[in-house]
């Protein structure tokens, strides 16, 4: 990915507004992992007016439930999970400053609208390429909900994780546009 944009987390409003659907990006820095079970707990905490175990401002959440780390490795396979399961929770987190989401698969209109409103982006990692994605992960620490096992929230440090922008802050959607480009009527 020679022509990719290099981003470092946390992301600024400027980082995010400059991204366009279809851009190839490599991300370095800290990401937080969470799937739907962890998202549900975060939202429950917000409903109760309690503090969250992770920061949100400028942060990026990677939707992943990694396989266990074998001896000598920080993580097992770690590709993205399907993102629509987080759709019910994502707008609330963007409202609180979340700037990026990494996963795979379509997002709901509500989530896309929230990305436009709160200036956030959704990026796709290659689904099913868990061994490859794991190569970019350098450090892993469980920060919340250890009882959820693979679904616990992890703070991970990544070095040049390759992703592609699907939904940008202008409402563009690579899933729709990409398909149109190659559709044969």
């Amino acid at each position: 990915m020679g022509d990719s944009i290099r981003l470092k987390t946390p992301l600024s409003g400027g980082d995010v507004s400059g991204l366009r659907s279809g851009d190839r990006v490599t991300i370095s820095g800290i990401l937080y992992t969470a799937r739907d079970a962890a998202h549900k707990r975060l939202i429950d905490l917000l409903d109760q007016g309690k503090a969250l175990p992770i920061p949100l401002e400028g942060q990026v959440i990677y939707y992943v439930g990694p396989s266990p780390a074998p001896p000598g490795r920080v993580i097992g396979a770690a590709g993205p999970t399907t993102s629509y399961r987080m759709d019910a929770y994502a707008p609330r987190l963007m409202e609180l400053g979340l700037k990026g989401m990494i996963g795979k698969g379509k997002r709901s209109q509500e989530v896309k609208d929230a990305m436009t409103k709160y200036k956030a982006v959704y990026m796709a990692a290659i689904g099913g390429a868990g061994a490859l994605m794991a190569q970019a992960i350098k450090e892993v620490e469980i920060v919340a909900y250890e009882d959820l096992g693979p679904e616990a929230i992890r703070r991970i440090r990544v070095d040049n994780l390759p992703v592609i922008v699907v939904n940008d802050t202008l409402g563009n959607d690579l899933y729709v546009e990409g398909q149109k480009l190659y559709q044969i009527p």
Binding site: G65, Y84, K104, G178, Q179
Partner: protein
């Protein structure tokens, strides 16, 4: 191969310990080593894919399979719900415990010692069972004294996008095609394309789903032995690859690598159709005991 003994009654005895060991090994191998039929299909897809992003993705899937095999880590973090297809010879006598316990012990040990993700939970509390059991077993009694098992780790993403339709017989082949295409289009990027589309037609409600899943065991690239079905599969894959969904749903020519069909007669009132989507990490290991 595994050792065998013939009992005085003429029944071939197979120890549950042999079954456990074989299942354990197959579960780990299936998750680390993508079959050469799949990587060959990736290479063939590269020739046809026109989207630069699509090509890049397929190249990365080949690289991913190589890393997994070399470094002994799973191809995909979703190491699946373990599905077991078993053909048990009528002249086989399983000794030393129950067949299900033997299989589940193999899965338990394989998923623990192979550092595979445990992805099974209670449907209501969502509490993880912790050892990737129970497993799903499809058992068939067949003539002979062999035991053949297929260990199939199946991911949740592609399973979630699978569909079952009880069509009116008037829908016919045209209706079947429409529903398969609808399923692929609605799934879009979610089941990790390029996918393999398992199509089960006929039987009844549950049998169509089992046929669809079982069709996925066929060697990728091997034509359907029935020429009529082979031509229908070809018709469907051409239609599917016109949708433009492409690798990972980001646009391209290769939405699916193949369509596999299994068909059986059904009730005069029905036309059951099951579409089981398989992600590109198509993992299955056959064990002959």
């Amino acid at each position: 191969m595994y050792c065998q003994t013939i009992s005085e009654a003429g029944m071939r005895q197979i120890s549950t310990k042999v079954i456990t060991a074989a299942v354990k090994e197959a579960a780990v191998r299936a998750n680390y080593e993508l079959g050469s039929d799949v990587t060959d299909a990736f290479r063939a897809a590269l020739e046809k894919e026109q989207s630069p992003v699509g090509k890049e993705i397929i190249n990365k899937l080949i690289e991913n399979a190589e890393i997994a095999r070399r470094e002994r880590i799973p191809i995909c973090q979703d190491t699946g719900l373990a599905i077991i297809f078993a053909e048990i010879g009528q002249d086989v006598n399983i000794v030393g415990g129950s067949f299900r316990d033997a299989v589940e012990q193999g899965i338990r040990e394989g998923y623990k010692e192979g550092y595979l993700r445990k992805s099974v939970c209670d449907p209501f509390t969502r509490k993880n069972t912790g050892d990737n059991t129970p497993v799903i077993i499809h058992l068939e009694l067949v003539p002979g004294e062999r035991l053949t098992l297929w260990v199939v780790p199946k991911g949740g993403g592609s399973e979630n996008m699978s569909r079952l339709f009880m069509l009116p017989p008037s829908a016919g082949w045209k209706g079947i095609k429409e529903k398969v295409l609808q399923t692929v289009l609605e799934a879009g990027p979610n089941p990790c394309p390029p996918t393999i589309i398992g199509v089960g037609i006929g039987g009844n409600f549950e049998e169509s789903a089992i046929l669809a899943k079982k069709s996925l065991l066929r060697h990728l690239g091997a034509p359907n032995p029935d020429p009529e079905l082979a031509s229908k599969e070809q018709e469907l894959i051409e239609e599917i690859n016109k949708t433009g969904v492409g690798p990972q749903g980001l646009g391209g020519r290769i939405t699916s690598l193949a369509v596999h069909m299994l068909v059986m007669p059904c009730h005069i009132a029905s036309l059951p159709l099951a579409v089981n989507i398989q992600c590109h990490a198509s993992r299955h290991e056959e064990i002959a005991i």
